[in-house]
Amino acid sequence: MKRAATYGVLALLAACASVPVGERPKLSESDLSEVYAVLKRDFHARGAATMSRVEPDRTQRMCNLHADNPPAELARALEDEQLKNIPFPAEIMGDWKRGQRIAESGVGLQWSDRPGTVSGGSCYNCHELSPRQESHGTLGPSLKAFGKVRGSGAETQRYVYGKIYNAKAFNLCSQMPRLGLSGTLSEQQIKDLVAYLLDPGSPVNR
């Protein structure tokens, strides 16, 4: 039995000699079509989670085909296109107190959510923000004292709003969700998060 298992592993290694175990493969067009077809067959819509979500859009396609590292000029074109489509509000700073609750909340867009659930931003899942909240993830960079370091000028406000609305407009294959474009957060919610990051009174900056 043990010998059979050893041969099995050897055969497996031989079968995928081009991409060894432990390495990241680059997906081809046909790989994408194959996975998409299987997802369509093996998943079902539930609650807010519709089947249209398993089909990659142009940005996701580009990142899949280039293992998150697309050629610079292709990435730039898709970034600029998305940047142009960010609907910036006239007034960008909201209320940091509301922003704090949005940053803490991880609900929304899941099949388990009740219809009408107001989504959170899940910010603390990946980022450090207020030093008072020790339970924070590290998938994204620390945003501690973000406004203290950068100030809260008009350019910075626009950058932060845009980054939360559509992170892919700044870095095409960023791991950060496009929280405005995906319909996760409303304009007002993003404005409140901008204030949470930039307002001098926010715990992020104190």
Binding site: V9, A15, V38, D42, A49, P141, Y159, F170, Q175, R178
Partner: protein, 266 residues
């Protein structure tokens, strides 16, 4: 705008884990050692054994003649050699998919009946979870070695690997979004880089597992299901080829360590 666009991302890229977080991590590790000593997993194994032997379904048969890959009724070491190809079903199956197959064939139950409650809760595990605890425990000490010689087993591995890196969904996530980089966390939860053998091994050697934080016993079918929920995808069908392929990719990547589960998790 363009100035801010150039400068700010660079300034953002200075992640650090503070002293407080490191202390918290030590506390969590201490807590994990403590809880491993008081796990109810053994009781679940006994309950699973009783269900394995209990006649059920239209054929009033037990699962004792179920072939988990090492011959009808052989449970010793069976889990350590899954997933594998089964010629009677002409597909690759993981433990739960195979148990479901035996429920429909040996016991004559409908798929609907057998999958009505595949994921339990803190009050009561599901039948599938009790059975998984029992079967997996019979592989303790056996090195994890899923079968990978059949072409369909190799195809499952490759499909699982491609799926692991496929980004889509409302939040643009693939499995690698969270399990693709060393030393990362969601909140306080460490995230193993599951396509790396050294990270996959301890995971493969300890699932299915009891989760202390919610007092529930969870299987790999549940783990995949819950990941896709958090990834904002639609729901994978229980025991579908895609779930088996992901399990094959993970298990073959993390093969080699003796099984020491069912484990106890945070």
């Amino acid at each position: 705008m363009s100035g801010a666009k150039r400068l700010l991302p660079a300034a953002l890229a200075c992640a650090s884990i503070g002293v407080a977080a490191q202390d918290a991590k030590k506390e969590i590790e201490k807590y994990q050692r403590m809880i491993a000593d008081s796990s109810p997993v053994e009781l679940f194994e006994l309950e699973g054994e009783a269900l394995w032997k209990k006649p059920q379904g239209p054929k009033n048969a037990s699962l004792e003649q179920c072939d988990l890959g090492m011959g009808a009724g052989v449970v010793k070491g069976a889990y350590a050699h899954l997933p594998r190809y089964f010629s009677d079903a002409d597909r690759v199956m993981d433990l739960e998919t195979r148990l479901l197959h035996c429920m429909t064939t040996l016991q004559g139950r409908s798929r609907e009946d057998a999958t009505r409650r595949v994921f339990g809760n803190e009050d009561r595990l599901s039948e599938m979870e009790y059975l998984s605890a029992f079967i997996a425990a019979q592989s303790r000490g056996v090195p994890m070695a899923p079968s990978t010689s059949h072409s369909k087993e190799q195809a499952a591995f490759e499909l699982g690997r491609k799926t692991f890196f496929y980004r889509a969904g409302a939040w643009d996530f693939s499995c690698a979004s969270c399990h693709g980089e060393e030393g990362k966390r969601i909140r306080m939860q460490d995230l193993p880089v599951l396509y790396k053998p050294e990270n996959a091994k301890p995971v493969v050697a300890t699932w299915p597992a009891y989760r202390v934080s919610n007092s529930q016993f969870k299987t790999m079918q549940w783990r995949i299901n819950n990941c896709y929920q958090q990834m904002r995808y639609p729901e994978p069908n229980f025991g579908s080829d895609i779930t088996v392929a992901l399990t094959m990719f993970l298990t073959a990547t993390g093969a080699g360590e003796p099984y020491r589960g069912p484990g106890t998790k945070r």
